[in-house]
Symmetry: C2
Subunit: 468 residues, 2 copies
């Protein structure tokens, strides 16, 4: 049966479109974090939408479950096969065509397998800007970004991936193709299928193409590093900058002193732009189509809040080099954290008005209940998104690791839920948060999602074991 | 049976929550355009979500179809009952609570029955801005705006209603309540139910509350009126202004010379700010949190395009009074059109890069095939949205009106579909475009929508005869 399926798949995608060898399958069956390792009879790599549809029809006929995969850079195991060896991996990594760039409509139509960095580059080449930006941009695909509704560092101004796509092309679980590649800013002719497939983590169909929104290129930039006494001060700074800078405010990141110390200890060349000790830091970035005036605006705005005593200190980058150095300090946190040892990670979101109180309460609860385990607290505060992580002792046993992970997840996520927050702000549910989801979603909401899942994928073939 | 249902409904909403008298029912059973007039046994006006849920349970038990209704100001008959007399109207117009304003989170939580103008006012009172704005704002409800994903004049910068709501509360067809009133900028914990209910025109459930996004108040404004030779010139102007003004560009409206002439003929006090004859006109508005600098920016930007010969003339409003007068000229088109007689209206969207070619082709086709019937062409060109209307002779018979409407719809919408456009950009499908939808949507897309409809509303009780 399996041999017969593989023979038929080869007929569709060619022998070079199948990965059967176990060693060659390694980058597909194991996720990059090394957290999930599964098995697959075959990795199928179609070249175009027609082939994806043919593959899907074959899998459906044989009742074979399908795991769609982009760059396999997810944080939640959403693209990982289970260890049954029954799930076929459908990789989009040969579908790398940029189908059309339309600078007048400010849109770009792409295959799902195009690397995010290549999307950014194609936009730049056309004198436009595609704002989605995240750590994995050199290896993640736009299809994966769409399937997981990826976030990143420019959400404050441009929104999540769902806000950046006007149209989609999707191969449905029955092998039919929904051609919704519309490049329209307004279209009120039915249900928002586009929004439904985006963020559905491959459980409703396979996104094979998209029409992306482009923006005028921002030519002016200003970057600053701020020191403050508390998260409450940082949140107040956010409100002030929004009022004074409006949509020029492109990034607003926060990190605790421990984050800065970690980066300085573990990442060579990392320097904090401010003297003195500050419990919390913020990285602020403005951008604008106008090439000039932003450093002055940022300086004026920060001078006001300094005078009012809301923040303790601030430094504005005087050059592109200094701005890059500030971003390296922020972006070094993930790497420094890995070098510092094991961590229990949380990707949470809260209403911004409840963020500071959450941090106070969670810090106190963890200090009391988890023997002072160090907290690595940073995130995209402009979006209410915190990576509220907890470092474990270097010598933690496998058992203690599992026990502490469960206990910390429960404690942190319960506090998040009490304040109307989300237990997965930008990383998705995948396998990582699937069981927790039932605890925090209402029965009605779970049921609504299951009704849609059953309607669109009655044979339950699409990415089983993920999300729902 | 019906008497028994009404008795039970009275038990839920009180006698004052029912409208049984035929004269009192008139504003509910007839739409404001006078296009659709139906019948209902009773208009039910619940005071809160619990009552809506109880009403829905009673209707479900008795198999009674429900027509949800907000301000009854829709353009497509989406809130109109049919003439069977079997459909209960569920009006949200007693649910007018602003539940919470959170200026730090930049959100507002409201009942669905709050008037759009009251939402705008509450935002202003909190020092914030709610950008949705449209002609009916004094009488439409935010619930109706959400149900139809309303557009308006600020979409270019702030998006459609779907982009302006972070969370929803919905009473489902089975009477259960989905409490999705989250005020989060990032939340990747499942399918986008929010986006699905928004724009579903009451066919999947009843939106009873929402968390809306607020913005910093724009304090600076600049408005200009432009004359140009053709739609192609106007579209080029749009690209230039986007590059030079970025997100300050808040509104970009186009109208043909005939629109301007119509307003001058039919609306007292209307004056065109430009001398001379221009085949096409544009109204441009910039806004910004910074109170100053915009008129100068707009002047510089327009001077460049004037020098390049892209536009023929431009006038920048020197005062708030002049700016209002420019907007009156634009907003007077609808009224002038009504006074000029019957019209066949189209609310279409196109990729902006195909807009000028569409107008050329459609103008030529209609001139050749419809004996020079005058075309009233205007719209939110920044969103690719045209109201491409055709005036009929004053003495047109009822039969000719019906025949011409069908023929013009077919001709215009076929041209729109050929260019990848939408036959309903912002007005929705309702009853007006329901039959046409099947012609322009693929079988796959219709089927996807029907699968969702059947899954969420298996008894087909929600707003039957609309959209699908």
């Amino acid at each position: 049966m399996e041999t017969e399926l593989i023979r038929r798949l080869a007929h569709v995608v060619g022998d070079e479109g199948l990965v059967l060898d176990e060693a060659a399958q390694a980058p597909y069956v194991e996720d990059w974090l090394g957290k999930w390792r599964g098995r697959t009879p075959v990795v199928v790599r179609p070249r175009n939408t027609t082939e994806v549809a043919a593959v899907m029809r074959l899998c459906r006929q044989s009742g074979t479950p399908v795991v769609p995969q982009g760059g396999n850079t997810g944080m939640s195991g959403g693209a990982a096969p289970d260890d049954s060896g029954a799930q076929v991996i459908l990789s989009l990594n040969r579908m790398t065509r940029i189908r059309e760039v339309d600078p007048v409509n400010n849109t770009m139509t792409v295959d799902a397998g195009v690397l995010l960095a290549d999307v950014q580059r194609a936009a730049r080449d056309a004198g436009r800007y595609f704002p989605l930006s995240l750590g994995a941009e050199g290896s993640c695909t736009i299809g994966g970004n769409l399937a997981t509704n990826a976030g990143g560092t420019a959400v404050l101004r441009y929104g999540n991936t769902r806000d950046l796509a006007l149209g989609l092309e999707v191969v449905l679980p029955d092998g039919r193709v929904w051609s919704g590649l519309r490049g329209l800013r307004k279209d009120n002719t039915g249900y928002d299928l586009r929004g439904l497939f985006i963020g559905s983590e491959g459980t409703l169909g396979i996104i094979t193409g998209a029409v992306l929104k482009l923006y005028p290129a921002p030519l002016g930039h200003a970057t600053a590093w701020v020191g403050a006494a508390s998260p409450a001060c940082i949140v107040s700074l956010l409100s002030r900058l929004q009022a004074q800078c409006g949509e020029r405010l492109t990034a607003f990141e926060m990190m605790s002193a421990r984050c800065v110390d970690l980066v300085r200890a573990h990442v060579s060349g990392a320097v904090c732009p401010l003297e003195g000790d500050h419990p919390y830091h913020a990285l602020v970035q403005l951008s604008d189509v106008a090439p000039e005036g932003l450093p002055e605006l940022l300086e004026r705005s920060l001078a006001h809040v300094l005078e009012d005593g809301l923040i303790a200190d601030a430094a504005i980058a005087a050059s592109e080099t200094q701005a890059r150095s500030m971003w390296r300090l922020r972006e070094g946190i993930s790497q420094a954290q890995v070098r510092a040892g094991k961590a229990v990670k949380h990707d949470i979101a809260l209403p911004i008005s409840r963020l500071a109180a959450f941090i106070d309460e969670a810090d106190a609860a963890l200090a009391a209940e988890f023997e002072g385990l160090p907290i690595v607290n940073f995130g995209h505060v402009g979006d209410g998104n915190l990576h509220y992580n907890v470092l474990l002792p270097p010598d933690v046993s496998q058992d203690d690791y599992a026990r502490l992970t469960a206990a910390l997840n429960r404690r942190v996520h319960d506090l998040v839920a009490q304040r109307g927050g989300s237990i997965s702000a930008e990383h998705g549910v995948g396998r990582l948060r699937r069981d927790e989801l039932r605890r925090y979603k209402s029965a009605v909401e779970m049921d609504l999602m299951l009704m849609i899942k059953r309607a669109l994928d009655p044979d339950q073939l699409m990415n089983p074991g993920k999300l729902l």
